[in-house]
């Protein structure tokens, strides 16, 4: 009766595999270097920099969630975790976009 092999403890955090971690850290390293290069090299215009660093931050966020946090929708608990994350994401967007929107309106006459 070997429970360890038959029923590995999972906690909704997915399977632990070295290959996934290694590919995760390599892609995160590349994305971080792209972000810093875009700003430090000074070759890009302001808008190009802005787009590059935000795109690479968003991709890196997804890479970290998939390869290090090991979020997945395979198990019931995995699904609940993802649902909680999506809900938090909605609240987060409301807080940040909402604050910028309201404060942007308030200071309409004071800046520029």
């Amino acid at each position: 009766m070997n429970h360890h092999d038959a029923d590995p403890v999972d906690y909704g955090t997915g399977q632990k595999k070295l290959g996934i971690y290694v590919s995760g850290i390599i892609s995160c390293t590349i994305l971080t270097l792209i972000s810093f290069w875009a700003v430090m090299s000074g070759k890009l215009s302001k808008w190009e920099m802005f787009i590059v660093i935000f795109a690479s931050a968003c991709i890196q966020f997804l890479v970290q969630v998939v390869s290090f946090l090991r979020l997945n929708t395979q198990t019931e608990q995995g699904k609940t975790n993802v649902l909680a994350l999506i809900f938090t994401g909605i609240i987060l967007i409301c807080i940040i976009i909402g604050s910028l929107w309201i404060m942007g309106n308030l200071s309409f006459y004071t800046i520029r």
Binding site: V9, G12, M40, I95, I96, M103
Partner: protein, 202 residues
């Protein structure tokens, strides 16, 4: 009789496993609330930096190469922690402790660099009390640093706890909590370096 015992045992194990899974979900919800805390700090930082009068620009005080090194310390510590988890599930306790010690030193280097940077900023005139922008900068980055310091303390506790308690379902659960917490801090750092440092330096 014998099969009854096995069935009861299995039932107990199953029950225990479910309780553990619920606990981990609870910890995940705590991390989500922490996420909301950070989003409030980010919103404050963005509002005070880009939509109000700000005194002195951060970009004249920040050295981006130091931030890059900090980022790699945190990323590497995240990876070594994943290796510790990997060894935990293969029941290699010495390797787990060794990786945790490496994780601790990488995380400690991150905090050391950050504190050094804060002292440098304060000495060259970018103190927390000079403008709303500076206050929000120190609150956001400082809160993240405080979380990392707390994580470091927690790693230290696990380094001493693991050899004493051995690898059991209890220690596995605790390392799982810690792993979620540590990975979460690295994810927050992605947005800190993008929004605070890189956007500030543009």
């Amino acid at each position: 009789m014998h099969s009854d015992v096995i069935a009861a045992d299995h039932h107990h194990e199953n029950h225990h496993h479910n309780a553990d899974a619920t606990d981990v979900f609870g910890f995940w919800l705590y991390i989500m609330t922490d996420c909301i805390l950070f989003s409030c700090l980010f919103a404050t930082f963005l509002v005070l930096n880009y939509q109000s009068f700000h005194g002195i620009d951060l970009k004249y005080y920040i050295d981006l190469s130091v931030v890059l090194i900090e980022t790699f310390f945190l990323l590497a510590s995240n990876f070594t922690f994943c290796l510790a988890i990997l060894n935990l599930y293969e029941d290699k306790i010495h390797k787990v402790v060794a990786w945790l010690i490496i994780t601790f030193f990488l995380g400690a280097s991150f905090v050391f660099l950050e504190v050094k940077e804060f002292i440098h900023l304060a000495k060259s005139g970018f103190r927390w009390d000079v403008s709303g922008q500076a206050s929000s900068f120190f609150t956001l980055v400082g809160t993240h640093g405080l979380h990392v310091s707390f994580g470091l303390f927690w790693i230290l506790v696990m380094i001493f706890q693991l050899p004493i308690l051995g690898i059991s379902s209890v220690t596995k659960r605790r390392i799982t909590y810690l792993g979620l917490f540590w990975n979460f801090l690295d994810i927050v750092w992605i947005f800190v370096f993008t929004i605070v440092y890189l956007m500030g330096a543009m």
